[in-house]
């Protein structure tokens, strides 16, 4: 009986579909699992913070419309590790890859 699957949480609020797809591809290529959940919350900081704190892996991604961010457990709300508005598809991949790299404890890629 596993309650929390060890995965990155992605909390979304009316997320741009292409952006979300590319972020997921970034995580998938790195071989880490993710779960997407649509939330009532519109604020990016809250989405990221909650996602990180509710992920067993301590890593969360937030997508509000076309704003994106990545956050880790233990870092205060509002201090997302990475934040990109209207990201290109390359930037989405990197954001996803960095979420996975946080889990794998590998250095982050540069946007």
């Amino acid at each position: 009986m596993i309650i929390n699957r060890p995965s990155i949480r992605i909390y979304t609020c009316h997320a741009d579909r292409d952006i979300l797809k590319e972020i997921c591809a970034g995580i998938e290529e790195e071989g880490v699992l993710y779960e997407i959940e649509e939330r009532q919350e519109t604020e990016l900081d809250v989405l990221c913070y909650d996602a990180a704190n509710e992920s067993v892996l301590g890593t969360g991604v937030g997508v509000a419309f076309s704003e994106t961010g990545m956050q880790m457990k233990g870092v205060p709300k509002g201090r997302n590790l990475f934040e990109v508005s209207n990201p290109t598809s390359g930037q989405c991949r990197i954001l996803g890859a960095n979420a996975a790299r946080a889990v794998k404890r590998m250095p982050f890629r540069i946007f």
């Binding site: 591809a25 998938e28 290529e29 880790m72 201090r79 990475f82 590998m106 982050f108």
Partner: protein
């Protein structure tokens, strides 16, 4: 009550020691200081640094420099260490093309061989022939997976090479799993219709078939000659996560390769030795030669060019003709250097054996009197060139607690390792050996393939750690260190140096353990060898067991691991060896300056 200043002008550091002679004629030490040397050692440009150091030392005891009655400066040995490094191996030429790399996320596992086909040409493929498919980053991962799934029903698709970082994405969408290598930037230089073998290792392992010449032979059905030509490829693929080898007979690739060359050691006669025979053999010949007059290299070879460069460089600096400059000692060390592989598709290199060389250059007598005159002129204090550097260092070393005569000191500097023995009657023997801290930094830089010497110098000096989360790092010795607040993301996952002021990120992607191993090995190769040959030369009867104490001084004696390495090695000869503690307080620094002050009372009494 008289104030005496001892001043030691070194290649890197200028040090001062201030002593006071009381009414009873006894010496009391009051202060000391250390600054960067200004200008090249032995030139009048040094005066600025000396004055700065005197200011600093007197400042500590709140007294003006003018109260000093006598300044004693060192008689510098007319030898200067210089360091250069040359690989001795030839460029590697291969008959096949290869890609051997560590994409962080290849996919699938296992090996495959087949004919290369571009994904767009799959309609031309014939059943029954194994294919390795290549796809550029213009094809999206879901399209690639779709096409492969479709064609795999008719054709034998054995492996896939991708330009984009999408191996896992494609693999997750394939019906039949095959090995996939991705992040191959130069995908367009892969020749279609040739035979290729590809291999992806299981996570945490490295390729086994393609790093074995007979494995390549098995997959690509090579004959014995072709297998021989594939050996450098196999060698360069050792330890790689994934690899591609393509069979592309080039015909006769020829390159102009500069041979490593011979070294000529001139003493009573000329002793030749080939660089190819390695550092141990070179040092053995040097040892047999006895007192060396000059060392040169075979013209138009790697070593020949290197020694000429050293002589010219020194000549320019000293304003002497390079013909007048003689090399009286060298230290050769076996090392590894990256060598380009001709035939590689993505500029891969592999590490080959190389020999690094530090040389000791004999120059004309250094004009220390000129420096003394200039100091006198500017400070109006009596200045005396008072004693040979190594002898003064030995005198200073003797103030370390727990020592007695006969005593040897080893001055581990930047360019050279100097040694002196004082026997019980006060007689002194000295020697200067090529190679010290700078050669260590050079080896670290080369073996780790670092772009900056500065990084190598820092790796030499500071312990390593790996930042494992935003909240902690693991130190080199395994201990954990927690941060108060989350650290900046740029540090996350990186190997860093624990510089006292700030953590320094090592940009190159090299595992902590590798860096530590190269660092320790470089220190051992330079300092252990030099300590043994310097001490053997000056030991009574050339027998190390006749030396009871060795005191380590100089900049490289500050090193956090070199003194312990030497202690362990010299313990085999029942020698007490350790980092000096000059005047029970200065650590390994200030030996020469202290010796200069001490020798004044010695002279008086």
């Amino acid at each position: 009550m008289k104030l005496i200043a001892g001043v030691d002008i070194g290649n890197s550091t200028t040090e001062v020691c201030i002593g006071e002679i009381g009414g009873d004629g006894k010496m009391r030490f009051l202060s000391s200081s250390s600054v960067m040397t200004t200008g090249m050692k032995g030139t009048v440009a040094n005066t600025a640094g000396v004055i700065h150091a005197l200011d600093a030392a007197m400042g500590k005891i709140n007294r003006p420099v003018s109260e000093i009655s006598l300044i004693r400066i060192n008689e510098a040995a007319p030898v200067i260490g210089d360091t250069a490094m040359e690989t001795i191996t030839e460029t590697i030429i291969t008959e096949s093309s290869m890609i051997g790399h560590n994409p962080s996320t290849p996919a699938g596992a296992g090996q495959a061989a087949g004919t290369i086909i571009y994904i767009g040409h799959l309609p031309e493929g014939k059943p029954g022939i194994p294919y390795i498919v290549t796809a550029s980053s213009l094809s999206a991962y879901d399209e690639v997976a779709d096409v492969i799934n479709r064609y795999a029903k008719k054709l034998d698709i054995a492996g896939l090479i991708l330009q984009a970082d999408e191996a896992v994405l494609v693999e997750n969408r394939l019906e039949h799993k095959i090995p996939i290598v991705d992040e191959v930037k130069s995908i367009n230089s892969i020749p279609e219709w040739k035979m290729a073998a590809i291999e992806v290792a299981l996570p945490g392992q490295s390729v086994r078939m393609l790093s074995n010449p007979y494995g390549i032979a098995t997959l690509l059905k090579l004959d014995a000659d072709e297998t021989k030509a594939a050996t450098p490829i196999a060698k360069s693929l050792i330890g790689k996560r994934s690899a591609v080898v393509i069979r592309t007979p080039h015909g006769n690739v020829k390159e102009n390769v500069l041979p490593a060359g011979e070294l000529y050691v001139k003493s009573d006669q000329v002793y030749p030795v080939n660089i190819d025979s390695g550092a141990d053999r070179i040092m053995e010949v040097l040892g047999q030669a006895g007192e060396v007059i000059d060392i040169s290299g075979q013209p138009d070879t790697n070593i020949g060019n290197m020694l000429i460069n050293i002589k010219n460089g020194m000549g320019n600096l000293m304003g002497e003709e390079s013909g007048e400059i003689r090399i009286t000692d060298i230290l050769a060390v076996d090392t590894l250097a990256p060598v380009q592989i001709s035939g590689s598709l993505a500029g891969e290199s592999c590490m080959e054996k190389a020999v690094g060389v530090a040389a000791m250059v004999k120059t004309k007598h250094l004009p220390m009197e000129k420096i003394a005159d200039e100091l006198k002129r500017r400070l109006h204090i009596y200045v005396k060139v008072a004693g040979v550097e190594a002898v003064m260092a030995a005198l200073g070393a003797l103030t370390t607690p727990g020592t007695r005569l006969p005593l040897a000191m080893l001055d581990l500097g930047g360019g050279s390792t100097d040694a002196a023995v004082i026997d019980s009657d006060g007689r002194v023997k000295t020697t200067h050996k090529a190679g010290a801290g700078e050669l260590v930094s050079m080896i670290i830089q080369t073996e780790l393939g670092l772009s900056s010497r500065h990084t190598a110098e820092q790796i030499k000096k500071y312990p390593l750690a790996k930042v494992e989360s935003l909240f902690h790092m693991r130190l080199e010795n395994g201990a954990m260190h927690f941060f108060e607040n989350a650290i900046e993301p740029k540090y996350f996952g990186n190997v860093v140096l624990l510089h006292p002021e700030e953590m320094v990120i090592i940009d190159e992607d090299i595992p902590l353990e590798k860096i530590a191993a190269v660092r320790k090995d470089a220190k051992r190769k330079v300092f252990v060898r030099n300590a043994l040959r310097a001490l053997t030369e000056i030991a009574p009867g050339h027998n190390l067991r006749n030396i009871p104490n060795v005191v380590l001084v100089g900049g490289s004696a500050e090193d956090f691991e070199v003194p312990e390495m030497l202690m362990e090695e010299l313990a085999n000869y029942k020698i007490v060896c350790g980092r000096g503690n000059i005047r029970a307080s200065e650590g390994p620094r200030n030996a020469v300056a202290t010796g200069l002050v001490l020798s004044y009372t010695g002279g008086q009494q």
